[in-house]
Symmetry: C2
Subunit: 333 residues, 2 copies
């Protein structure tokens, strides 16, 4: 049986399409001393992957043409020459887009299938949950009573941001596209209010109503005209975490928009970009807290499971058209 | 003899003009118990004053139509019913745009004419020097060896930012308009390199040459296309202090430009707006340090003195066309 893999066929200049990927087959690798072999069970698709398909300077090296698409996954250890992993163990690691992956244990951790569904290791109890946690608590430093606005609020990160903000005593306003999503974030994630940007004809006016005390914290996953409107409602000494700019990942040309720095000046706002791996030394402690909240039912998660390894490209593409509610994963085997 | 004052005649919608001000005469006021009367010697003109002429929300209350234009000044105490001030004392305080001002001492401090020229109390040893100090050291947290870029580098704030950055062991690149200014910042302020934006046909390409290790700290006084180019060269974990956006203070419509948040995300940049009065509790300590540097000749200052109270409006207007090198003050008496 071969190892099916997706490699980058060509670099997109605008919207990513299936033709930018190519599925290849290679032999299943054997672990060397100190390594283990994993069979992928679920693979993650995340918006940041679009950035890695570009050649430009970024925080991570771009995927080479013909190179394996990178990404996280959970899988079952099927062979091991590593002292910490045994066959039958479930692990979360950087698998890449493939059915079988070798690891030396670096960046990997074991997952306890009896504690929570193993898919959560890719979501609320994994990279996206940690992103929500550090972005809201470290970058924004939320305080009780503050108004927190979240764009991409029905997504994997945004839906967790809203719930942590509620746990911290904030008023939460989520921005999402469509009635299903705004219902989800209010009923399942406990957002106090929601703005359906697909139904709104004036984001700025609608936000004025939803945020009568202005916006103390803005957790931005999207950028674009939604962010423009939120910036116009920032409060004095507000904080903005730039987690994602999904509205622009598929832009063919550098996007233009209203200049926002005047809002930053007048309000003495702090705007800060971040990525979760910058906080890696504290991931373990944060996962303890997130797991506790999850077990206590204080944080819920919705997962959007796409069936079939062959659907990896389309699963990723769907993130940019807003198909998913909650964390999207691909079920491989 | 009357007290001549400038009041706001009307709100500008674009570039400020003389017609937006009106000079009036009123009786010289008498100090009540606990107050003192000052005769203005030098009045400050600063870009922030343009913002106060607008009705919009900002960190300070707008000037009312018919209201006295606000601002700082240094003057001589000529009558006092305040225990801390005696006739003959020189003080710096919020005089407003007038020849005589009453103060209860709040926000005022005495100036020692034997220590430094009294005009410095409006500049390097006053509001603009403190702005440079807190913006660079607190907001940006510069470290030795970092590349610091300053826009408006020949201005009252920017010229001091560059000198403090050099004292802290940074490499300094100043952006200013015209050969006189770029010569000033390099020869008098010790900037390592300068970009003359009036002579440049490609800010981005020129900055790439001037900042081969990218930009760790950007102290922004201007905004506009200069800032766009600097953002494109930001380094990982860079810091940007938004001190001013003088390029836009006279815009009639909200300005458009390239979206900058993607640079903030990729570099995990911190962008923060600030105003000097937010740090008021530490002004005294900072002034001790600035005064020491000044006395030791480690920080030099250039002042641009406009003669005559009647020229206050034109002195302010000139800030927006880049007339001044260093701190502009108006000599009143």
């Amino acid at each position: 049986m071969p190892n099916r893999q997706f490699v980058l066929a060509s670099r997109p200049t605008g919207m990513v399409e299936e033709s930018h990927f190519r599925m290849i087959e290679s032999p299943i690798p054997s672990p060397a001393e100190g390594e283990f072999l994993v069979r992928s069970l679920y693979l993650s698709v995340d918006p940041y992957m679009r950035g890695r398909m570009n050649a430009g300077r970024s925080y991570a090296t771009p995927v080479e043409i013909g190179g394996l698409m990178g990404g996280g996954g959970v899988g079952e250890v099927i062979e091991s020459k590593h002292p910490g992993y045994r066959p039958g163990d479930v692990a979360v690691l950087q698998t890449g887009w493939q059915q079988y992956a070798i690891s030396n244990g670096k960046g990997a951790r074991k997952v306890d299938p009896s504690a929570a569904p193993i898919t959560t290791a890719l979501g609320v109890l994994g990279m996206t949950g940690l992103t929500a946690y550090f972005g809201l608590l470290e970058i924004c430093g939320v305080k009780p009573g503050e108004t927190v606005v979240v764009s991409g609020a029905a997504g994997a990160v945004g839906s967790v941001v809203g719930q942590i903000a509620k746990l911290k005593g904030c008023r939460t306003v989520g921005i999402a596209g469509g009635a299903k999503k705004t219902e989800f974030i209010q009923k399942e994630c406990g957002f106090d209010a929601a703005l359906d940007y697909k139904a709104s004809t004036d984001y700025t006016a609608d936000l004025a109503v939803l945020c009568p005390d202005r916006v103390d914290v803005y957790f931005d996953n999207t950028g674009g005209p939604i962010s423009d409107a939120v910036f116009a409602h920032l409060n004095f000494f507000s904080r903005v975490a730039i987690c994602g700019q999904i509205a622009h990942y598929n832009d063919a040309h550098p996007p233009m928009g209203p200049r926002l720095l005047r809002y930053v000046l007048v309000n003495r706002t702090k705007v800060q970009g971040f990525i979760v791996s910058d906080h890696q030394d504290r991931h373990a402690a944060a996962l303890v807290q997130l797991t506790q909240w999850f077990k206590e039912g204080k944080i819920r998660c919705r997962e959007d499971v796409v069936e079939g390894f062959e659907n990896m490209p389309r699963a990723l593409m769907g993130l940019f058209t807003g198909e998913n509610i909650g964390k999207r994963v691909v079920k491989v085997g």
